[in-house]
Symmetry: C2
Subunit: 488 residues, 2 copies
Amino acid sequence: MTENAVFSQNKVLTIDTMNPKVKNVEYAVRGPIVQRAVQIEKELREGVKKPFTEVIKANIGDAHAMGQQPITFFRQVLALCSYPELLKDNMFPEDAKSRARRILQACGGSSLGAYSASQGIDCVRQDVARYIERRDGGVPCDPDNVYLTTGASDGIVTMLKLLVCGEGASKTGVMISIPQYPLYSAALAELGAVQVNYYLNEEKCWSMDLSELERSLAEARKHCNPKVLCIINPGNPTGQVQSRQCIEDVIRFAAKEHLFLMADEVYQDNVYAEGCQFHSFKKVLFELGPQYSNTVELASFHSTSKCYMGECGFRGGYMEVINMDPEVKDQLTKLVSVRLCPPVPGQALMDLVVNSPQPGEPSYTTFMKERTATLRLLAEKAKLTEEILNTVPGITCNPVQGAMYSFPNISLPQKAIKEAKALGQAPDMFYCMKMLEETGICLVPGSGFGQKDGTYHFRMTILPPTDKLKILLAKVKEFHQKFTQQYS
Amino acid sequence: MTENAVFSQNKVLTIDTMNPKVKNVEYAVRGPIVQRAVQIEKELREGVKKPFTEVIKANIGDAHAMGQQPITFFRQVLALCSYPELLKDNMFPEDAKSRARRILQACGGSSLGAYSASQGIDCVRQDVARYIERRDGGVPCDPDNVYLTTGASDGIVTMLKLLVCGEGASKTGVMISIPQYPLYSAALAELGAVQVNYYLNEEKCWSMDLSELERSLAEARKHCNPKVLCIINPGNPTGQVQSRQCIEDVIRFAAKEHLFLMADEVYQDNVYAEGCQFHSFKKVLFELGPQYSNTVELASFHSTSKCYMGECGFRGGYMEVINMDPEVKDQLTKLVSVRLCPPVPGQALMDLVVNSPQPGEPSYTTFMKERTATLRLLAEKAKLTEEILNTVPGITCNPVQGAMYSFPNISLPQKAIKEAKALGQAPDMFYCMKMLEETGICLVPGSGFGQKDGTYHFRMTILPPTDKLKILLAKVKEFHQKFTQQYS
């Protein structure tokens, strides 16, 4: 054999030989439209002429990238933890220093650079537990049930990994809302689970209907083994805040139908609409009495990335598991140990979120001012977005009760739908791509989240600064009118 | 139906209904022995009397937890990035400030709290590429081939996810060294891939033998589809540093046998033994000429957790992919986008590692002093460990040429082996558990890494401070002698 002959013409890893489950993964929030937006930004920098001078990315809930300022106290403590020499400095308030000392004492070698326990730093989990207890009016929380995670995504995927198994008709089915946050569909594709869709009721402000849950479950039972029910509250991409009654119904349904509940509650502080209030699934579960609170299995997820913090880059988060079988918990602890630990700076940040400055502490006033201002601004922008979008003929936008997104319904002319389909594109992808090319605005088409057949939407974050948001909304309005005209 | 009747007696998620692949996962580095060590620590705190006053954890390569100090420059820049108000302060050197400004400018909203691109911050990937080029004597590196990761573990698991597929005889086989770092076996178990063992040659200082690779591959081809060859160099847990010739042989073997190479090179700065040198797989690949450098598919992994940094808690890392099919690369980029981005503080830290202070910059002298001192100390401790262990009758320790571990061979008396087996324990687990209970020293049994049948080992880090390491080694010696006597 000559030396050349040993070289195969084909690669080992090709699109045909790779893991087909990975090929099935889709993640619209960073999909083709965002890649095109990045290209356009590059073209603009290179001097290519466009009908706009700037790309406005309203595709992702990335608060700091949109100019939201970090909470001073959090960043002071993180700086102190990163470089403890600063503890000697007089420029930092005492409460920031004491938080930093407490976190460092809980770290191996008093360093953020040591691995933590795989479940997360003990004292952080204790602080999380106390935070949950305060939030839920005293419902007890055992720190042993708290797992720190690398953002909420990590916790969600880890729980799904434990839950998903089987083949054919006994393959695990996971019920997710449509529209959904595409982490869910992506994780299910990767794990090879069956995605079981239940539709939110757009007419009733994206609420969950019991009858729809029943329909969806009955349908799924014909071909798979539905074991899990996922809820996002406040809703992503849909911005609704579930009523207490609705949560109660969902819990009763899960108990009756023997489903494991996964509650994605990362927007728990992002509630804007009057009359709306965040109710944690855990609290409602315990209020339903021991028949429920001792039996229904629940995992709830939180994150440092949303709410008033918006600290996405730190990848901090936690999950609480309730009524988890002790043997399974051992397996969960083992599973997370393989990745050693969540990033320790993210754990420190999670600690600050659940153990924020208290009345009487030197940082309290500034902290509250910053927190309140951020949340008030978000509430204003939620209102503004809804109001302006609803002035556009052909756009109907539900109230943005919470979270960080509007998900308006858009009427698309038949001609546009035809043209899109001829190009092999989803009609709302066609619409959003055109908007990006003509206005520089980057939105995510509704098809990336799922929607009722024949309806079209886009997801738009409410995060840009108010002046920019107004420009953005005006441009969307103008574009929609022009688009409608062009294809009518 | 009464209300009570709706409550199922059984949980949804039990040890019998959970994902069986997760059950198959094992991770000895944080396994039962470490859990027992944590318990013992708790017992000591509670005043339980033990024949020792402190647990010494030599089970994991966690440098800072063992007292290694972080590099001042790195932590200064991280503090500046966390709390940019500090940029106004005069206490930080100019080069630290300029690095911080550069990183912040590359972050959305100039904040570590924004999501980065999923592949990692552009300028960090560029710095990584230049670092690789310098390291490899000018072999070109395209930043587009660099992916920042959440520690090296994340990159390794992501690559395996792409590679593993098929069922039955066409299931992907992944060749890993025995002994191995159990991340590999754990990931393969979770993905349902076939673990294909090749044995390192303990007699020849844990070198890789071509004949053994051939044997292992031929064997594997009878029942699966071996596609991947994983190498850890410098070795974990075995501490060997591969010769250039050996790497060349491995690359030729991979080319001939059509295998995808995964090179775990996280200990690339941890080379202590005289005559040993780190050769990257990429450099050797390019030195073999275009027949190889244009065809052999390679992924190489690095991390902020090891070398002189030891910053495990930040979960920073990168991987470089070479000769990856462009369609597959698109799939890889899509896959990593689902988790949004690696932790941004870890990305910043990775940047500092690959763009450290240069001659003429104000931090250069201190940086070099700290770096050199840490590596010199590690080299001393590597030597010390090997020497002392080899004075113990019944313990044979190969030179710790690199990495952070010794992996000595231990002779166990037949009586002890019998007693262990009667308890259903691996004999070296039995040995290590006894050592923990009697001395407070926490090691990981060789069975957690894999070893030739009938041989026994433990892995011990060389990280404890020299005085503590000496005590530890003396205790190991004493224990081994007592144990041998007791069971002879």
